[in-house]
């Protein structure tokens, strides 16, 4: 197995991350194939968001290696970022600019061509055509999240990272999200998302990764999983000894 194995969309090896006195990720190890839709599950504070931030290159791991489509993220930062699209916890949009202005700015930062057509196309995908010229501040939470998704899709990333994309969304918004997931699956691109809603995760994803106490406790295709499997993997929390923080 060489480091530049193109078979893997993501290959995470022994990633460790600690904040001050707390070890959030202890030795994370998993891999995804191109075209897989994977979901990271885990209780609150299990380190799901931290892991996504590391994959999005916003946070540096203490140790371990990560390959995205054969690029070591520590070495080829800009290339990897061009391959990756992320929607993390907050929408990350300028609230006093319109959706169109936001998308234009980010399209320029990604050095895209034909920006206007791209914006229209992606706005349709997430159903925000009617809101393109509204300021982000005036939009509802659901529309802000959809606009953020459009921002992440603009440069057609091979890998999409989504942190709890369906939280606070109505069913209509969720259906746009499901369309995007379907499109990714059928075009052989990869999605890694976190979620709280186990049923929905099992429905939408091909693969589930359960993180408990900073380790991958379960990595399996969703066909042979049910909710109770996952919940039992959740519950392996550590007995807190008095020395722990």
């Amino acid at each position: 197995m060489t480091k530049r194995d193109p078979l893997f969309a993501i290959k995470v090896e022994d990633v460790v991350k600690s904040y001050a006195e707390v070890m959030v990720l202890r030795r994370i190890k998993f891999s995804l194939q191109p075209g897989e839709v994977a979901v990271i599950l885990g209780a609150n504070g299990a380190g799901k968001s931290t892991l996504l931030r590391i994959l999005a290159m916003l946070t540096q791991p203490d140790s371990g290696s990560i390959d995205i489509y054969g690029n070591d993220i520590a070495k080829n930062g800009p290339q990897v970022r061009a391959l990756t699209g992320s929607v993390l916890h907050s929408p990350m949009l300028y609230t006093d600019m319109s959706v169109r202005e936001n998308l234009t700015l980010f399209a320029e930062l990604y050095r895209l061509k034909n920006i206007d057509t791209l914006i229209e196309k992606n706005a349709c995908k997430v159903g925000i055509q009617s809101r393109l010229d509204h300021r982000v501040r005036t939009l509802s939470h659901g529309f802000q999240k959809r606009a953020a998704l459009a921002r992440a899709l603009m440069h057609k990333p091979q890998l999409l990272l989504l942190d709890e994309p369906e939280s606070g969304l109505d069913s209509r918004s969720v259906s746009y999200l499901e369309n995007v997931v379907e499109e990714y699956r059928s075009s052989g691109r990869t999605i890694l998302m976190t979620t709280h809603i186990i049923e929905h995760a099992l429905e939408i994803a091909d693969k589930a990764i359960v993180i408990t106490d900073g380790y991958v406790h379960l990595e399996s295709t969703t066909t042979c999983l049910n909710k109770s499997n996952i919940l039992s993997a959740y519950s392996h929390t550590l007995p807190k000894t008095s020395g722990d923080l």
Binding site: P78, T84, D96, L109, R111
Partner: protein, 224 residues
């Protein structure tokens, strides 16, 4: 190169666009600076004799203090929607983000000076509106925004950010303030260019040193 400039301009233009809507930064800097000037006109009884002596120092002290509050505001803007992280997700090197934010800050402080310096000239009855003053003001503003952008990015996660930024910023820019004050006082005293030039040289050296270092170091600052 052209692509890099386009990215820098895209970030700077975005700051300007937001500024035209919020009008937070430029107004804050100008009003603050004018207030400091006004307080000094009471604190020191300004007359024809002492205006030339004290005026340049008061002008640059007010711009430095006002500028630092503006820089704080300009970065708070990126924190509001976590948008700094959105910039960091883009496949561009960090020094372009730095340059873009610096461009925005440069334009803000320059715009504020366009308002403040003529009013200063009137209040202190000094003939500062000369081309040499333009050079002095540009060089000082470049240095302020180079250091200011760097420290503003560093103090984002600090509690008591509003206090920390001036504490870091002011001592480091002191040589630049000295250069600005001295060359302005040469300007108001109608000195010849060579006398001004030695201070201009200092300002140029300061600007170059810190732009180069900041661009080099900015990568280290953004990641946690």
């Amino acid at each position: 190169m052209r692509e890099s400039l386009a990215v820098i301009w895209a970030i700077g233009r975005k700051d300007l666009l937001l500024e035209t809507r919020n009008k937070d930064v430029i107004v804050a800097i100008s009003v603050f600076a004018l207030l400091v000037l006004m307080i000094f006109t009471f604190a020191i009884d300004i007359n024809q004799v002492n205006a030339k002596l004290t005026g340049p120092g008061i002008l640059w002290a007010s711009i430095a203090f006002a500028g630092v509050t503006g820089l704080n505001r300009a970065f708070a803007l990126e924190l509001e929607g976590n948008t700094l992280e959105a910039l960091m997700l883009a496949p561009i090197s960090r020094d372009l983000i730095y340059a873009g934010k610096m461009l925005g800050n440069f334009l803000f402080i320059t715009a504020a000076q366009i308002i403040v310096i003529p009013i200063f000239a009137v209040l202190f009855n000094l003939a500062v509106l000369r081309w040499e003053m333009l050079v002095v003001s540009l060089l000082t503003t470049i240095g302020f925004s180079a250091i200011g952008t760097l420290f503003a990015a560093m103090t984002i996660r600090v509690r008591a950010r509003e206090v920390m930024l001036p504490l870091l910023f002011l001592p480091v820019v002191t040589p630049l303030i000295m250069a600005a004050v001295e060359s302005t006082s040469h300007v108001v005293n109608d000195s010849s260019w060579p006398e001004i030039y030695q201070w201009i040289q200092l300002a140029i050296a300061f600007d170059i040193a810190f732009i180069v270092i900041s661009a080099f170091i900015f990568q280290q600052i953004l990641e946690d």
